[in-house]
Point group: C2
Chain length 156, copies 2
Amino acid sequence: MAGPRWLDDHQQRAWRGHLAMTAQLQAQLGRRLQADAGLSFADFDVLVALSERDGPLRVQELADGLQWEKSRLSHHLARMQKRGLVERQDCPDDARGAFIVLSADGRRAIEQAAPAHVEAVRSLVFDGLDDRQVEAWAAISDEVLARVERDRAVGS
Amino acid sequence: MAGPRWLDDHQQRAWRGHLAMTAQLQAQLGRRLQADAGLSFADFDVLVALSERDGPLRVQELADGLQWEKSRLSHHLARMQKRGLVERQDCPDDARGAFIVLSADGRRAIEQAAPAHVEAVRSLVFDGLDDRQVEAWAAISDEVLARVERDRAVGS
DNA sequence: TGCTACTCGTTGACGTGTCATCGAACAGGG
DNA sequence: CCCTGTTCGATGACACGTCAACGAGTAGCA
């Protein structure tokens, strides 16, 4: 069972803690969002991205901003459109392309969902952490993200 | 757009960093696992749980250990059984129940996959963090996890 | 024994994510 | 203008996760 370079006890503990925490936190935030506003976590991310840069957005731009694969976004937008959360407009510059805009319902949904979601993030996460921990957390995430992206670039 | 109790800049930065990091890290580890051993992240978790407590395991025990919903586990075990990674035995004590055991292929798969996976976790995560950061990370995860579980208990 | 209530694990329906692939449209060089 | 290669976004097939519901078995109690 012992390969070379196993994890030491502290690393093991941190890693298992991270896995458990992310899974449970994600699930709980998702459940709340669903109960409060009928939105999934993914819906929320799309709506936030659309409302931040208000106005039509190309599918590819949206995918870049969300760091989603284009096919995932295409499927998701189709479902959201069917529910009336977003609308498509065709793109005069490029006949292949499509613009995505928030519908009135979509805007209503995000504006209604956001306060409760932010409050949930605050109460589940930040109310338990002091400033030093928040800084440390950001630094850790940045470091790991940088490594993952380097690795992704190499592997491709 | 300004509800009561928004996130401050540091919190915002930490939160977005966390979301991006977890998404990318999970995806990258999953891709590697898939490429190296033909396993998904979920397969890996199940196989680890089965190999840690060597021998037959009741479905519910497995679900508790993994913190998975029983239906998710049932679906997943069906797929893994179809691929020959696990086997079922019936349970003499309780005719409703089922025992799950690692198959020979399953054991081979986990033993082959584990070293590369651990090495990936090390190189993507822990090689970039010092001891103090690892401790801080574990403390943060524990604190958030405790809050989520309290919240989950209340809400139900 | 017979009744009720509960637990075990499975199932079906449905939303979601990934991969490979597609047709259509663009871009640039002959 | 045509040809070639690329990009845009959509699609089909399939793996995955959740919810509600189910049948079968168990436990408690009269």
